[in-house]
Point group: D2
Chain length 366, copies 4
């Protein structure tokens, strides 16, 4: 059960970095959504490595194929299977990691739990597995678009360098103009330089990614245990390397008083909104019609070429490790599309669950 998420719009992810392929099944997407391979490929290209100085130079010419679920150009209500067949994944020798786990990398956890672990390229623990998230997210985004819901993720911090807050349309425009996918072009320059300097040292850096969803109607999320914020927190924390999740003001709420940050109601043009959005669009676990904002803390890539202390599991003794290879010095830019996808999956699921999208036939949606 561990590889599925969602109640009505449900993703089952499969595959790993060195098997035949990697992909996802989307079950529960209503019929009659127009969907092409390009819709998915476009999103996958955003996470593709080898496209800039700050990501790994590895090339992955990943082309997605849709194996089921489409009839005459539209979804037909049956499971949509998207897959990328792996190519050239056996070029490198990973056997050194068989007995020497990489610090802060999941491989040792996998070994202990399952007893049979594909250490090649991280196996199912590899970042390549997020291809499944993106396939699911691309379909979710297409579905949400029919309801005028839009989602963007952008890098707001790398190390100590913070992006200046920008309005939604500026962010949307700017993230396509820099390899960091940062909404502030000036900060993006500094971020890039900082990443490259750490890369040269054989080190890696962390950062913060923000996601904004606009157009979400009031009333998604079901108290007490299927709240929208809880479901978002789960899927975002489930992304590898994420160590924190915030909604709205997040941890800043600790240092404020109620009178400072309560979101007061107002009526303008006969419409109820809140004057501020410190709640990040979610109150009482339910969306309130304001933009939904979240932030995730992304740790530095654990794979670094600097020498580290580890152990040899066979000999049961301490051993040094140096992880050579073409690893991302900072995965934040590539994480943006995974955060966007994950948010889209949760929102699509809740849109169906809450009755805004018909569960089986999009044409019957309100």
């Amino acid at each position: 059960m561990s590889n599925s998420i969602g109640e009505k719009f449900k993703i089952t992810s499969f595959g790993s970095s060195h098997g035949f392929g990697v992909g996802a099944i989307v079950d529960g997407c209503p019929a009659n959504l127009k969907l092409t391979t390009e819709d998915i490929q476009k999103e996958l290209n955003k996470r593709k490595p080898g496209t800039s100085s700050v990501t790994t130079p590895r090339k992955e010419n990943d082309e997605v194929q849709i194996l089921s679920g489409i009839f005459e150009g539209k979804t037909d209500g049956t499971p949509i299977t998207g897959i990328i067949f792996n190519k050239n994944q056996h070029s490198k020798d990973y056997s050194m990691f068989k007995n020497t786990p990489r610090p802060s990398h999941g491989d040792y956890s996998w070994m202990v739990k399952y007893g049979n672990y594909d250490y090649n390229g991280g196996g199912r623990g590899s970042g390549r597995v997020t291809i499944g998230h993106v396939i699911g997210g691309a379909i979710a985004k297409k579905l949400l678009k029919t309801q005028k819901i839009e989602i963007i993720s952008h890098v707001v911090q790398i190390g100590d360098i913070k992006a200046k807050p920008q309005d939604y349309s500026t962010i949307k425009k700017n993230i396509e103009k820099n390899p960091i996918r940062c909404g502030d072009l000036k900060a993006s320059k500094e971020m890039e330089e900082f990443i490259l300097s750490k890369k040269q040292e054989g080190d890696s850096v962390g950062g913060i990614v923000e996601t904004i969803a606009i157009g979400v109607p009031q009333g998604l999320g079901e108290p007490v245990f299927e709240r929208l914020d809880g479901d978002l927190a789960r899927i975002l924390m489930n992304i590898g390397s994420v160590k924190g999740v915030e909604i709205g003001l997040g941890f800043d709420v600790a240092t404020h008083t109620g009178s400072e940050i309560n979101d007061e109601y107002q009526i303008t043009n006969n419409k109820i909104t809140t004057k501020t959005n410190n709640s990040g669009g979610i109150i009482g676990g339910m969306s309130n019609g304001m933009p939904i904002t979240s932030r995730i803390a992304v740790k530095p890539t654990p794979s670094i070429s600097k020498c580290q202390n580890s152990i040899n599991l066979e000999k049961m003794e301490n051993e040094k490790i140096e992880i050579k290879g073409r690893h991302d010095p900072c995965i934040c830019p590539r994480v943006t599309v995974v955060a966007e996808s994950s948010t889209a999956i949760v929102l699509a699921d809740h849109m169906i669950r809450s009755g805004f999208i018909h569960p089986t036939n999009l044409d019957k949606s309100i």
Copy 2:
């Protein structure tokens, strides 16, 4: 489905602040666990209001009753129903909130979504609903104790006042000695004063609560979508007023490099541990045998007596609101037991799911 959580150890919460009662059903607790009403009452007393200057002066002489699931002093594998019957809950008039929603409080969300909302005392949106969490958590803690797993939650920050880090046993001892449930006695004094000063202004304050679980074996959590960190993040974010969740270093990872915070492996006394615990006991979504640490950001109680802007839903015009009543100026001390309970529920569930505790009969556990 919205009021249940857990796969094998499953809580279904019911009731509200002004109905007949509030409680929870625990389904999936293995048979043969010794369990008494006192085990649950003890935990409930920690969240009871009216016990100190910094919580609401309301008295709730809540006595839990177990209606099912116990035979001859032990669980029998059938659903355990715990309930507290409400008394004296109708003393106050809440009808003023029927048309004037309280800023940053969930009541307006409930009205819109369900169309029939018990505004009295916040109904199902009331903090009183967390009684269900605590009933479930008390049983989970008792079950975990048989496996030598222990959990404590404590307040580490109120406003800008931060507790000094303490070791586990000091925290455990100190939290019983101050009304803040803070592990640092000196800081707790400052926190108390700060809360009282804001209370006098008719305002409220936020803070941060940390939870530590020790004794958790290696191998809880199932990648890719039922990771332990994801499940913890969800249940913690589901607590009312929580706007952020961190595991281990949390948001601090953004400002560090891999070489600074990677948890290096070491062998000492033929046992594998990590030198540091920046991962907070979870790597690759699975527990690694180190203490599991999380922190949650708790917003200031939205109910404040200061005048606020709101609206009148009937007249559809702007309207001021002053929320009189005996509200907690800071809910962090009472949230500690909910965080502890929530963490216990997730860990108990995963202990069964991962095969450490037998799914139906505790006596058969490893």
Copy 3:
């Protein structure tokens, strides 16, 4: 997890014959359904023992209480908890069954699986547990009635005595006129005599119960694994003593050819129906708009006063057993309300899942 059923309209059953009480939580019933205690009591009275010569003479003055989920006479979207507190259940000594399991009764299975079993009155294995089904079913029936869906169950066979087929309205009228709840008044007389003759011999008899649901729209059920027939088969087979489930023609399909039993389509008054209903209203796992008909095989009550071979678990030797007490010689009449309730639960759940009833607010239903 074992005590819950349903995806959106979800029942969690709790309690046993000799604890404090027995009941159910209904989670997922949309808000704004008018609901009173009487709606539930009325259904419970149908399964009440002590009302006729063919059921147990035990009296159970069961009065249900609703503990949560109703506000101002209507559901409010929160969990509805219904409970009957047990009275006078400790009158009899069941300790003889502690070591001597009753043939074809579940108690030995419970002992082995859970290791701590409340043998008093069958504990959670008692037929009294179906009170939870009926509470859930009563609410489901009320919900379905708003969509003009109606369900009746009736006894069609006891031993070799078969009821003559009757039309729906005749059955509905007749079942209230005889203690067997049979739609054919003549057959009901013979059935009653047959049951009483076997009762006198200290024996029990089996039978067949049919359920008919009318007004169900086309399109409930989701292939491939959440088909409507599969979900009905599960909930009906889950009723204690049921050993077979049929939809439509059932096992008779084995002896027919396709040309004999295919349900041909026809258009009459611009409406598409089938000329026959051998499919029992379900084709391809989905409802087709025709009445949904099912039949269940109910075994004779295993508790009989005739001497039977059993074993003594303590001494591990063979031992005779005679089960004295006031057991139903035939449970079919009382099973009718459980079959009706179970069918209602599945249909209510699928009505929400398929978008015919709004998931949270009945007033928004199509």
Copy 4:
């Protein structure tokens, strides 16, 4: 959610008769199970058409590929994806069924529910979709074999021709010797002749398939709503064309008394068994250690070449239909492997759920 089944050992089925392929993901199979493509292919060959006079002459040279989940010849705990790519499926014109639904076939149900239906070869409603069941079942059977559990399905009735009861090993041997997969070689001859005679008339016939599982330990199944009999009934009723499910004596219980069919306990060689097995190995919803026996009623293939009444959906008028093509005159022989697979899936799932097989690592199983 409709295409998944199972809680711990979970199958997600995808694909249809005329897309790129058809297959299944098995999530939750513990690591360290030896598994090859041949293990799965062997089972698939049993349902392959074109192998005898009584099945369709269509040839499907279906070769399964495993895309993920195997490392060094053993499962690694990650999702196992098995797929058969479709070949030569576009040879025939199905467009005539676009507007004229086939009586008792699911296509009209699909059209109405989803609004976009791949009518080619029945799309996802095609029997070809059971390839997913068989892939899942093959893995389940391999897993069960490590626990000495074995399952066979055989045809016991076609039309009015019934197989004589045989012992387990005779059935196992005989089903491989005749195209009907019947355990009684004499009856199989008559069945074959009967099927061929109806085939010549352009008609089809129904029958009954029995499944026997031996070696199942005591204690599978969880009352009240996840009973083993309920879960078996669901998965078996979910097979296309099945209209009835029985456990043990099944519908025959109606005509017997308790004293006739109660399964009395006995101790032989210090082991507790029942003298008879009228319960079919399941009492109180839990396995009791005796062989688990079920029977399913399979309707005649709805696709027949005889002229039938149907309708034209476009013109909304009555219309005749003759379904030409190479359809199975009786699908019972091919259904045996689907029944076997479905039973295996449920048993594998419950073996993990009940703690007999370790949830993630087979080597740690009891």
